[in-house]
Amino acid sequence: MSIEICNVTKHYGSFQALTDINLTIPKGELVALLGPSGSGKTTLLRIIAGLESIEEGGILFDGKDLSEVHVNQRDVGFVFQHYALFKHMTVFDNIAFGLNIRKKRLRPSKKEIEQKVNELLDLVKLSGFAHRYPTQLSGGQRQRVALARALAVEPKILLLDEPFGALDAKVRKELRRWLRKLHNEIHVTSVFVTHDQEEALDVADRIVIMNKGKIEQLGTPSEVYDKPASPFVYDFLGNVNLFHGRLHKGKLDLGSATFDAPDHLHANDKEAIGYVRPHHLTIEREKQSEEAIAAKISFMHSIGPTWHIEMKREDSEAYVEVELSKEDYAQLQLKVGEVVYVSPKEVKVFIPEDFVI
């Protein structure tokens, strides 16, 4: 089922949670709503579910306006960050809940319910756990029960609110891979909220990046990572170095160096900022181009296969972070306190007037 969100606005008192949101989610896709806390992503998800009302605009499922339809009539499965399992019921009863409460003529027979629950238990790999209570399960297991419970009613849309947020890093990674696989099997239109860029990039077909109640960018993981539409997205999707300078006819002048800015050929002496990811910077011993900036190494440490070099620019005292592979690092034989030259392989220049961060 496709979801269409038209001109949705939402306030909490004087706080503007969402401003004029327009978004279409095609049938069968797995979409991530990504943003920092307070960006409105959870509010948007709850609005799609019908757990929050909207003031303006509409929510359409397959073209049908459901703005006024109660959550219990919307055919959505909702998975909460803190599982929200029914503590007084066994795992089996939790999963069967949505089927057991149906009106008699719509309710499957006892046998069918049992079969369905067992199928779902297999799916979430909890077959032996039917008669446990939620308090006897680990966090990852509880979240899988919550997912099975949501899937039991065969929802047309699956909504997940930071589903792995309360789990530790390893379980989180396992579970999100598993969610991806599950989605490939059952193809239910799914939307999940996360503040973890890695999670969104890893799992989603498409990512909606939100900030301050607005959508900043919408695209596939590689689109949003490689072509960020705004400084916010650039900053949010990973580490970044900022180079302040003046932009004039396709050149960003930093004083001691000049960067190429082919996107801005017609700019005329404006203040601008060049954004460079740490792994897009190279280190050399000699100044070989006008793009190279002198900097003094202040700290070096390794995280897994990469080395992080922190240095201070000689011209402005600003810090620059560079990421090197182990091989490059070994070849350069850098020492703390040494002055080297850094130059960017890729720069994205934004003019602050266009985007406020």
Binding site: N72, V76, F78, H82, A84, F97, R102, Q136
Partner: protein
């Protein structure tokens, strides 16, 4: 050589705190209660049996247990509603009402008894209207029940309130997203979570009702075979310096109350089975 590791508790001082617990319970509960048994044993079996099973006594037990049970039951229902309103809604005067709930705890029971009697007497403010429709409240078991409801209400409200406050909103939303109506969400999700606390409140109110004397004697009228409660019978015996007889009745009350409370506790344990089960 293997070194034995002593299991460490997070908080030290188990020995000391356990000692204090034992001493305290002995001094204030076990020894006084055992005096009741020792005193009543002066009677001998046949006399004991006769004191505790005569017709007037049997009737008093019946009144005591029936009114306490009925009052605790009604408090269970209405106390739940009051707790629900106090937790779920915001309205002017909420904190005042919340404070009023505890008043029956603090009020001397005799004051409560006199106030209720004036109110529900045949020519009292409320009593006259009930008389008009043919319901007599003061000097009937109904009056006793009302006094016990007054006394027992805080127990239920104060037990249920924190549990309702701690219920996760998300659990209700989850039920709703699975297609549950409001009634289903209440009956199948909220109520089972609150039931243990409700039972605990019920048993406290019930136990308190059984022992209540001060607020009841005024409104009850104390007519033999009609509105005499068991604690009153104990007082009557004491006034006649029949200490052994009084303690004999106390023994019966103690044993029956104990059995009732054990039963309610078992019920409560059953309703919390999901929390108590361990790996």
């Amino acid at each position: 050589m293997k070194k034995k590791h002593k299991k460490r508790n997070i908080l030290p001082g188990f020995g000391l705190s356990m000692g204090i617990t034992t001493l305290y319970i002995s001094l204030f509960i076990l020894i006084p209660l055992s005096m009741v048994f020792i005193e009543s044993s002066k009677l001998g079996w046949s006399e004991f049996w006769q004191v505790v099973t005569n017709e007037r006594m049997m009737h008093a037990y019946k009144i005591s247990f029936a009114t306490s049970f009925a009052a605790a039951l009604l408090n269970g229902i209405f106390g739940f509603i009051i707790a629900w309103v106090l937790v779920r809604y915001r309205f002017p005067g909420k904190r005042l009402i919340d404070g009023l709930i505890d008043l029956p705890f603090a009020l001397p029971t005799a004051v409560a008894g006199i106030a209720l009697t004036t109110l529900y007497a045949q020519d009292g403010w409320l009593g006259q209207y009930f008389m008009a429709i043919g319901i007599k409240i003061s000097f009937t078991p109904l009056g006793i029940m009302i006094a016990l409801m007054f006394i027992g209400l805080p127990f239920v409200v104060r037990m249920v309130q924190p549990v309702l406050e701690n219920l996760e909103r998300e659990v209700e939303e989850a039920a709703s997203s699975l297609g549950a109506t409001k009634q289903q969400t209440f009956l199948k999700v909220i109520f089972p979570e609150v039931l243990p606390a409700l039972l605990a409140g019920f048993s406290l109110a019930f136990a308190r009702g059984l022992g209540e004397y001060g607020s009841v004697v005024f409104i009850a009228g104390n007519m033999p075979m009609k509105t005499e409660i068991a604690p009153l019978m104990i007082m009557t015996k004491l006034e006649q310096f029949d200490y052994a007889g009084a303690t004999a009745i106390a023994v019966v009350m103690l044993l029956v109350s104990f059995i009732c409370l054990i039963f309610i506790n078992l019920l409560q344990k059953w309703s919390r089975k999901h929390e108590l089960q361990d790996e």
